[in-house]
Every structure is written in structure tokens, then in C-alpha cells.
């Protein structure tokens, strides 16, 4: 789960990491007041959880309170990648001498926690890794023994010759690592860590992603901003469905993530475009099918629906009951192709015998028919 910059900054602040002075607000007038208090030029940043805020015009420099008000008004009216800006962060503009990168991520391949530093801060670390890999420094931490001093030494020595700056940066790395562990992060990043002209180290931009599997911790779950999410994905999550909206017109309802991805792949292979990823999960009740159908119908692009179920724990008769209930509850203006196999498939076929659904006896046939229907409209 992504969280906002200002939320990430609050977490880092709790660990004593120095940040530029700044405040979060949601009106232009507040932005003016904050700037007046700061008595310096400020940076106004849109708080949206998408990349490329700067390029989209969501980050602006304001020289004085009135300009801050004006720019905040402009930014608060923007949509960035479809997401309405609802809050801006106003922070003092910093006199930058040098920019660095500090990041902590899960290293899937090595099954360790990877710490990364770079003297090329302020740009995406992936870009630095591609173009000047010698400027990327890594240490892999065994989670059982934690971060060791010799690893910190390895990470800071290439950034500074000055021992005092090495020591300070080492301390910051320790704190970022601690924040990563204690908040179940999948990513914790300071980019850039700025060395100011007067010799201070400030975390000018920060980013934290939380492990979705750790959201049973209330304090972490509370970081979620429902406004920052696609409303359909939000609704799906609340119904315990896994949903991702896409641009195509062939909707699908599938059990299991792998099979759901494959369904999308094959829709595409057969010349269609998937409208979504949707996994109803393992032991799916009829209600889940109803919710899945409702979410799908909210997508105005949809022209055909494919229900592709391989029953295991999921019983086909449960799915059939869900389909019947959904068709009673809502009008479905698109053709529905049903492919049901595995546990209790005969019973399901019987239950659905009187409907005007289109049946497919195989995965391939189901996809072909759905793509065909979608193309007709």
C-alpha cells in the first residue's frame, strides 16, 4: 500500500530524521498563512500517490505568501493521472548543495533486506542503476541479526570523505532501517537527502510503501487514504475481492489470481482487451459473485462478461447461485459467457439451465465467445 508523502514524513519525523520545515493543508488560504510563517520561498507539492507529480505540474516554487496561495489554488484544482488533488504540502525551499539517495527494500532474490545509497540523489534510483551503476551502493541485511556497522560503513563511505557527514548519514540509515522494520514497510526511501549549503542533512522527499499483508496492524491500516484509491478497487477490497481496473471491454470474473491473469492474457491473445482483473478468491460465497458483478457493471467500457471458474474449494454451485442472485438484483445489459468446471459443475449447469447465459465447455471457447460478443457492440 502506498501512503502520502506527508504521512511518510510524519513517520520519519518520529524517528528523529530532520525534515525541511513544512505543513500539510487543503485550502489556498492556509497555504498563504503557512508561507507567511515560514518567511522564505516555499515549495508546494500535490499529495497524490502517483509518480511524476513534478512533470504533471503538481510541484511549484512560490516566492511569497500571495504566490503560494495562487499556486496552491491551482494545484488543488488539478487531477493527476485521474486522481483529484485534495491536499498540498507547503515546505520551506532548501538551499541545495548536494543530493543523495537512501532506500530500503525487500530483496526478493536474496531473501534479505536491501539497503541502497547513492551520491546521485534527486532522480529515480532505477535510472541511476541503469546509467551509472557505480554510483549505487548496496548492503544486504539478514533480518535475524539486523543492520551491522560494517554495512553502514560500506554504504556511507562512497558518499562523503568527511567523517562527521559519514557518521550523521550512518545514523539516518539506521533510523530509516528501523522505520522500515517497525512499520512493516515494503519500501522506505529518502530521495533526495539534501546536504544544504550550511551543512545540514535534510530529508526533502520521502516515500513509504506498507506491506499489504501487515495491514491487520491498526496503526498501519489507518494510514490508508480511501480518496487516493480507485473507488472500484476500494469497493472490491471491502468486499474481499481482488480487483484491478483496465481499459478494455471484456470483463472477467475468475477464481484464483493466476487463472485470472491468464484469462486476461488469453482475452488479449484472442484479439480482445480485458476490462479488469478480478479474483473472487478461494472459498467464494454467492454474495461475492453478486459484488463482483456490481463492480464490473460500474465500468462503462464493458461490453461482455466472462465468468471463468475452475472449482476446487470454490464450488460451482455457489458460483451459479451468485449469478442467479445477481441477475435478479440488477440488470445486466451485456452478454455473459460462463465456463464452469470442477467441483459440482453438473449441479451448477442444472441451476443455470433456464437462464439465457452463453455456456462454454472450455477455457478457450469461453474466451473466444466473450471476445466475439464484445467486438459486436
Amino acid at each position: 500500500m502506498k501512503i502520502h508523502e506527508y504521512q511518510a514524513k510524519r513517520i520519519f519525523a518520529r524517528y528523529g530524521i530532520l525534515l525541511p520545515y513544512g505543513k500539510i493543508c487543503d485550502t489556498p488560504e492556509e497555504a498563504r498563512k503557512i508561507t507567511k510563517k515560514i518567511k522564505k520561498p516555499v515549495v508546494i507539492k500535490a499529495q497524490v500517490q502517483v509518480g511524476g507529480r513534478g512533470k504533471a505540474g503538481g510541484i511549484k516554487l512560490a516566492k511569497n505568501p500571495d504566490e503560494a496561495k495562487e499556486l496552491a489554488k491551482y494545484i488543488l484544482s488539478m487531477k493527476i493521472k485521474g486522481i483529484q488533488v485534495k491536499k498540498v504540502m507547503v515546505t520551506e525551499a532548501i538551499d541545495i548543495k548536494e543530493e543523495f539517495y537512501i532506500g530500503v527494500v525487500i530483496d526478493r532474490a536474496e531473501k534479505k533486506i536491501a539497503l541502497i545509497t547513492s551520491e546521485a540523489g534527486g532522480v529515480e534510483i532505477e535510472e541511476v542503476a541503469r546509467e551509472t551503476p557505480e554510483k549505487v551502493h548496496k548492503a544486504r541485511v539478514d533480518p535475524l541479526i539486523g543492520l551491522r556497522s560494517y554495512q553502514i560503513q560500506k554504504l556511507v563511505a562512497p558518499l562523503f570523505k568527511d567523517k562527521e557527514l559519514q557518521r550523521e548519514t550512518g545514523w539516518i540509515i539506521r533510523k530509516v532501517y528501523q522505520a522500515f522494520i517497525e512499520n512493516d514497510c515494503s519500501l522506505a526511501e529518502i530521495n533526495p537527502l539534501v546536504l544544504t549549503r550550511d551543512g545540514k542533512l535534510l530529508a526533502c522527499d520521502t516515500k513509504i510503501n506498507i506491506d499489504d499483508n501487515a495491514l491487520f496492524h491498526e496503526k498501519l491500516a489507518n494510514l490508508r487514504d480511501p480518496n487516493a484509491e480507485d473507488p472500484l478497487e476500494l469497493e472490491a477490497r471491502q468486499s474481499d475481492l481482488s480487483y484491478v481496473g483496465l481499459d478494455g471491454n471484456v470483463a472477467c470474473i475468475v477464481n484464483g489470481a493466476g487463472l485470472a491473469m491468464t484469462t486476461m492474457d488469453i482475452i488479449k491473445l484472442y484479439g480482445g482487451e480485458p476490462a479488469n482483473f478480478l479474483d473472487v478468491g478461494g472459498s467464494s460465497s454467492p454474495e461475492k459473485v453478486v459484488n463482483a458483478m456490481r463492480i464490473i457493471l460500474t465500468n462503462k467500457n464493458v461490453r461482455a462478461i466472462l465468468i471463468n471458474i475452475f472449482g476446487g474449494i470454490t464450488r460451482c454451485d455457489d458460483i451459479a447461485a451468485g449469478i442467479i442472485e445477481a441477475m435478479n438484483k440488477m440488470e445486466v445489459p451485456y452478454p455473459i459467457v460462463v465456463r464452469l468446471t470442477g467441483t459440482n459443475k453438473e449441479k451448477a449447469r442444472e441451476m443455470l439451465a433456464d437462464t439465457d447465459l452463453t455456456f462454454a465447455s472450455s477455457f478457450a471457447e469461453g474466451v473466444k465467445k466473450a471476445v466475439e460478443f464484445a467486438g459486436k457492440k
Partner: protein, 288 residues
């Protein structure tokens, strides 16, 4: 023969008194699996489908000599259950539980190093040696005994593939769902050598998906060490970058982990990569 699950397998179910644990215990017993113990703290003395329940893994293992554990415990308590199984000396842990925090899994993975326990999952649908035993939640009926090894990061997609294999007359030696999470116990790299060494496996189907680099690592192993034919399918070609597709492991981050990169690596290792699961049986037949 087979790998990991065989005639010596004796299963203990952790979380046997729960809804899922109890349901799938019946499924495993119906398949003929020797389920000889169950564990739920504080429930000693009960029986679930005729299986005696113990308070602790230590008791269960000492009393019944169980060597395999299957875990249906909810995510918050699953790490504890896993450590308990390791410390009780279980040889193979199959963790069905979905949603264990990644950092917990990192610790477990590193704790397992050098211990005599191996682990499948979490977020696995289990492991089955058709006709012998099933340890997990897959529908037993679609699996036929035979000579094809199947290893997959997915659940239902594996059923789809296994079903296709069966319809084409290709039975399976052992089918393993290694789990859809970012950090799992055994990966392709650990399973492939077992199939390579198993005299009753003639070819392997590897079902990968977007995210991570496990398929690329598998490709390097296949290229260097493997003599048996491998056919593969990679799910998620149509998935957009940066979005999690159900499985915690299925996310393309920073341009790595794409289906294209994985397909390329596998094809360079001589693996036939199917465009659809339906193509797998024919590709296998060509190779055999």
C-alpha cells in the same frame, strides 16, 4: 517414486479445528492421505474426522511420528505455527495460509537455513503425489498418476493445467504449488533439481507468473544442469506495471519481472514456453 510427498508421508494438520483446517482434513483423508494428527492449542483430546487433536506440535510429533505438517492457521498466528513445526523437527511444512507479512517470511526463510526442515508456501494450494497422498486444498480428482512433474506459483491455474494434462493422457508424478507470495520457502530453483533426480519424472511443467526473478533463476539452472525437458507458461502478459495482481508476488516493479523477460530467459534455456495453458500438452508430447 515422486518428490517430497510419498508413501512415508505422515501428515499433521496445524489449525485442524478451524473451518478451513477441518474441511480440508476431510478432503485429504478422502483422497487416502495418512492424516495422523492435528494441532490446535487448548483442544487436546478432541477428534476431527477421526484424527486425534494435540495442544502442541511437540506432543503431536512425539506421539504420532508425523513428518509433514500442513498449516491452515490464520495469517497472524501462522508464523508462530511455522516456528513450532520447525522446532518440533517436522521434515516438510506446507503452508496454505495467505497473507503472512513479508518481513515475517524473511525471518522464517533465514531461520530455516541449515535446518532439516523444508517449507512449501505460504499461500500455496499444496502438494500432491497422485494416487499416494495430497497435502493441501487442490481437487484431488483431476490429478492422474504419471510421469510429468508440475511446479507452479499459482493455485487454480495449476488445476487448469493439470486438467489439460489429464485430458491429454499425461499423468503427473508430483504437482507442487510453491505459493504466490513474494517470499516463499522452496522456489523453482529448489524444486527443479528434485524432479531432475526423480527417476519417475520424465518432464516438467513450470508455471510462472510476473514479478520477481525466480523464473530467470530457474532458466539459468535448466540451461546449466537440467537434462529433462521443461515446458513453461508465464501468466500476466496483459497485466499493467506496478499493480498487484491478487498474488503478493505478482507485481512488476521498476521494469523487472515482466512476462517477456521471463519468456526470453526460459526460451534461451531451451524451454518451450506455451502462449496458453492449452498448448502445454502438445508441447510436452513433442519433447517426450
Amino acid at each position: 517414486m515422486s518428490i517430497l510427498v510419498n508413501k512415508d508421508t505422515k501428515v499433521c494438520v496445524q489449525g485442524i479445528t478451524g473451518r478451513d483446517g477441518s474441511f480440508h482434513t476431510k478432503g485429504m483423508i478422502d483422497y487416502g492421505t495418512p492424516v495422523i494428527a492435528g494441532v490446535t492449542p487448548g483442544k487436546r483430546g478432541q477428534e476431527i474426522h477421526g484424527v486425534p487433536v494435540f495442544n502442541t506440535m511437540n506432543e503431536a510429533v512425539k506421539t504420532t511420528k508425523a513428518n509433514t505438517s500442513v498449516i491452515y492457521v490464520p495469517a497472524r498466528f501462522a508464523p508462530d505455527a511455522i516456528y513450532e513445526a520447525i522446532d518440533a523437527g517436522i521434515k516438510l511444512i506446507v503452508a496454505i495460509t495467505e497473507g503472512i507479512p513479508t518481513q515475517e517470511m524473511l525471518k522464517i526463510y533465514n531461520y530455516l537455513k541449515g535446518k532439516p526442515t523444508t517449507m512449501i508456501g505460504p499461500n500455496s494450494s499444496g502438494i500432491i503425489t497422485p494416487g499416494i497422498a495430497k497435502v493441501g486444498i487442490m481437487p484431488g480428482i483431476i490429478h492422474k498418476p504419471g510421469k510429468i512433474g508440475v511446479v507452479s506459483r499459482s493455485g487454480t491455474l495449476t488445476y487448469e493445467v493439470v486438467n489439460q494434462l489429464g485430458n491429454a493422457g499425461l499423468g503427473q508424478s508430483t504437482c507442487i504449488s510453491i505459493g504466490g507470495d513474494q517470499i516463499v520457502g522452496m522456489t523453482f530453483m529448489d524444486i527443479l533439481p528434485l524432479f531432475e533426480a526423480d527417476p519417475d519424472t520424465n518432464a516438467v511443467v513450470l508455471i510462472g507468473e510476473i514479478g520477481g526473478t525466480d523464473e530467470e533463476l530457474a532458466a539459468s539452472y535448466i540451461k546449466a544442469e537440467m537434462h529433462k525437458p521443461v515446458v513453461s507458461f508465464i501468466a500476466g502478459r496483459a497485466a499493467p506495471a506496478g499493480k498487484r495482481m491478487g498474488h503478493a508476488g505478482a507485481i512488476i516493479a521498476g521494469g523487472t519481472g515482466t512476462a517477456e523477460a521471463k519468456t526470453k530467459a526460459l526460451e534461451e534455456a531451451g524451454v518451450a514456453v506455451a502462449r496458453t495453458p492449452m498448448e502445454i500438452p502438445d508441447l510436452l508430447k513433442e519433447k517426450l
